[in-house]
């Protein structure tokens, strides 16, 4: 494929950045810097968890961002099935991919935290097992998107899987209540005794807002990359039609 518009006439962007993503990017970087300062310099060790509590400031925000992205994926998937919208199909794809990254990080960081507090990287605990299952469901979603199929079939298949996968989220969330679990109860909703408060609470909230901003920034960029790929396919089809027309004209003469 040749470069079509390197100089970007008429003010078209030369990347996937826009004013919105630049503002989000600056806020995300500032938030991350502040979170690191709070997590390591301002908050102290926990009474029970010691310094390992500092892992909570990345573990809880990544899983929160993953949940939000996966719920967004289900909403976009539903809209795709309803309206057959390419926009919502690509948005669902972007949300799922960033969600998988966030949930993968949750599992890895959670394993490290588990090693520090339980003495094992992995146990077949209800919360860990259901989270791993959720992760595998979205890996399956992305795999289905990669299968050769027409855009319409691909959108339908993946939308159905996306909606089905999201139904696992409440089960993952409630697993610590429904089954005997090593994993602690819901931290943010105040079901941990003693309750999280003070600087720990502020740092956790700051980290959650920051990671949500990072997730939105990533999903926006990823959506635009997918949109560009879609446009390239359109350009490719147009070029193929033009080439075929030229061939036919040549044969006719």
């Amino acid at each position: 494929m040749t470069d079509i518009a390197p100089d970007s006439p008429a003010g078209a962007p030369t990347s996937t950045s826009s004013r919105a993503t630049r503002v989000l990017g600056v806020l995300s970087l500032a938030g991350l810097a502040l979170t690191v300062v709070y997590a390591f310099a301002i908050t102290g060790p926990d009474v029970r968890l010691g310094n390992s509590v500092r892992i909570m400031y990345v573990h809880v925000p990544t899983v929160t961002a993953a949940y939000c992205l996966m719920i967004a994926n289900a909403l976009f998937s539903g809209y795709t099935l309803w309206k057959r919208s390419t926009f919502s199909d690509l948005a669902a794809h972007a949300c799922a991919e960033v969600g998988v990254l966030m949930l993968g990080l949750t599992l890895v960081v959670g394993a490290i935290w588990g090693r520090m507090t339980w003495g094992a990287f992995w146990v077949w605990d209800a919360r860990l097992t259901t989270t791993a299952l959720l992760f595998l469901m979205y890996i399956g979603y992305l795999a289905i998107r990669g299968l050769p199929a027409s855009p319409r079939v691909r959108a339908t298949r993946s939308a159905i899987v996306g909606i089905a996968a999201a139904m696992l989220i409440p089960i993952v969330h409630k697993s610590v209540e429904w089954w005997a679990s090593l994993h602690q109860n819901e931290t943010v909703l105040g079901k941990v005794n003693p309750n999280i408060s003070g600087n720990q609470y502020f740092t956790l909230m700051l980290a959650m807002v920051t990671f949500l901003l990072v997730a939105v920034w990533m999903a926006m960029h990823r959506f635009r990359v997918l949109w560009l790929i879609e446009q390239l396919d359109v350009v490719g089809v147009d070029e193929a039609i033009e080439a075929r027309r030229a061939e036919n004209i040549g044969v006719g003469q």
Binding site: A12, T14, T16, S52, H59, V108, M218, H221, W227, V235
Partner: protein, 50 residues
Amino acid sequence: MIAEITTNSWWLIIGAWVITLGALGWYSVAIVLKGRRLSRQVPAASRRWL
């Protein structure tokens, strides 16, 4: 005593943060660079962001 040692293991704490921020940074750079590369190939009319 064992719990005290493991819950204060700084290399695991730093490792968790480095893995998280490293993965997010790597993914961010990858998508931004891919976006720049693809933008050069797509007609300007198809590159209008909200």
